[in-house]
Amino acid sequence: MIRLQDVTKVYEGGTVAVRDVGLDVPKGEFLFLVGPSGSGKSTLIRLLLREEQPTRGTIWVAGKDITAMPSWKIPYLRRTIGTVFQDFKLLPNKTVGENVAFALEVLGRPRGVIKTQVNQVLDLVGLEGKADRLPKQLSGGEQQRVSVARAFVNRPPIMLCDEPTGNLDPATSVGIMRLLDRINRTGTTIVMATHDHAIVDAMRRRVVALEAGSVVRDQSTGRYEEGQVSS
């Protein structure tokens, strides 16, 4: 579903954010990207969204070489990818329902379809009855659920999560991870960058560790720290 070949990203000024990364993520996989701050996790996610172009190398998403994609096709690429971020990226002056509906409105879906799909996805993420609230009236965990709902409402084949539990307490994080796990079991490929040892160790999924932009470890059922290998 996602394939990176010898991908290197050098930012202006010479900072090497990603160095010769090769990675293959089959459909339906749940992959953790781990590593210290500045190791290149977020850059990798930005590259997959084509918010950045790699300096060298090729990236395929859903069978398409996105590094050679003309810019007018990029929105269509992004429609196949749901995104969840640490800071939720919700619009503060729109209600929960409107925030989720927004993702469908900008795709030009008919109003009736939007309404049913929004209610349906809010039920799925456990926010039934909260469609009319504003984001600031919700807890952090609930806000992140809204953001997951928005990412999933379009049923994308891929979800990219950049530290989705970074702002949440451990108990709330578990709730979000259960949600992502369920979404993954519907066949959605998930790539999640995280710092959270407990979550990675508990989920026992594929772990790719980055350090200074390079892949230093890739285990099919790994832990956050090396040396506790179980595969």
């Binding site: 969204l49 084509r50 810019s71 007018w72 990029i74 929105p75 269509y76 690429l77 992004r78 429609r79 196949t80 990818i81 995104t83 990226k89 619009l91 503060p92 927004f102 993702a103 409105e105 900008v106 795709l107 030009g108 008919p110 109003r111 928005r150 379009n154």
Partner: protein, 293 residues
């Protein structure tokens, strides 16, 4: 259709949110376009009025008569000679009696008429030229003719008016260009502020895969509406001024202070169109830098 409605609605929400800035842009467009349209109207007024001059008599030749030893025949011979010149489009012979009639008409309400005898008024040849700027040549050729008493021409006034007309032409054109450019820049600025105010929304739109045009169109609609609104107010203001001046018109016969309906309508429509196009253009300019994929 629902999509278009959605986009227009987005534009209107944008505008409501930045009402002050939008008002500023509309006023700026209004001032620019009202000035430009006003200059155009003044220019047209001058053109129409010089045209009246130009359509009238260009050169009047007052003739000597029998008292000076010049016969009617030599007067008519002179007229025939003038008729033969290339630059002359037509001539008219006005004898003493006709001159007196005209004089009576001109000074109908004054006592001067009773004191003037027809015989003191000279006969004249009125000449109309194909090209009014040739009046000096014609005067030069006539001035030494034995039958000629005096040659008069409104030529100098015409010179001055056509100079004024061409100066106003350039001034109006320059003003319209500068003001038009200013309107475009001002709208582009407004759109930039609108984008800045909505940068979070735009970021999310991009994230969920809204197409570039879907993001841009509300801003383009906003720019178009602002340009159009400014132009509409400008057209209304000039129309109002024109109506007020039109009311004064009756009391001033010499100088016509109004322009034809057709002329006004044509330019009003063009300005409305220009306002809308300038709005879209300004908007596109504002979008260019801020909305990269």
């Amino acid at each position: 259709m629902t999509r278009l409605a959605y986009l227009i609605q987005e534009a209107l929400i944008n505008m409501r949110r930045n009402l002050l800035v939008v008002t500023g842009a509309v006023l700026a467009v209004f001032v620019s376009l009202a000035l430009a349209l006003g200059a155009l109207m003044v220019n047209e007024i001058v053109r129409v009025n010089t045209l009246q001059w130009q359509e009238g008599t260009h050169v009047i030749v007052f003739l000597k008569d029998t008292r000076d030893g010049i016969s009617l025949d030599s007067q008519l011979a002179l007229r025939e000679q003038i008729d033969g010149w290339d630059v002359v489009s037509s001539t008219q012979y006005v004898d003493q009696q006709a001159a007196y009639e005209e004089f009576k008409e001109l000074f109908a309400n004054t006592s001067i008429v009773r004191q003037v005898d027809p015989s003191v008024l000279p006969a004249s040849i009125r000449i109309r030229l194909t090209d009014i700027t040739q009046y000096r040549d014609v005067t030069f050729r006539l001035i030494d003719e034995p039958a000629v008493r005096e040659v008069v021409s409104p030529g100098e006034s015409i010179d001055r008016l056509s100079n004024l007309s061409s100066v106003l032409n350039w001034l109006g054109l320059g003003l319209a260009l500068i003001q038009g450019a200013a309107a475009v820049v001002l709208i582009s600025n407004t759109i930039r502020m609108a984008i800045y105010a909505r940068r979070e929304e735009v970021a999310v739109m991009r994230l969920v895969g809204a197409s570039n045009w879907f993001i841009r169109i509300p801003f383009l609609i906003e720019g178009m509406l602002e340009g159009f609104a400014g132009a509409a107010v400008a057209v209304f203001a000039v129309w109002f001024a024109r109506r007020r001046l039109g009311g004064v018109d009756d009391s001033i016969d010499l100088f016509q202070l109004t322009v034809a309906d057709g002329f006004f309508l044509k330019w009003a429509l063009l300005f409305l169109l220009f306002g809308a196009v300038a709005g879209i253009l300004g908007s596109a300019l504002g979008l260019r830098r801020f909305l990269k994929v």
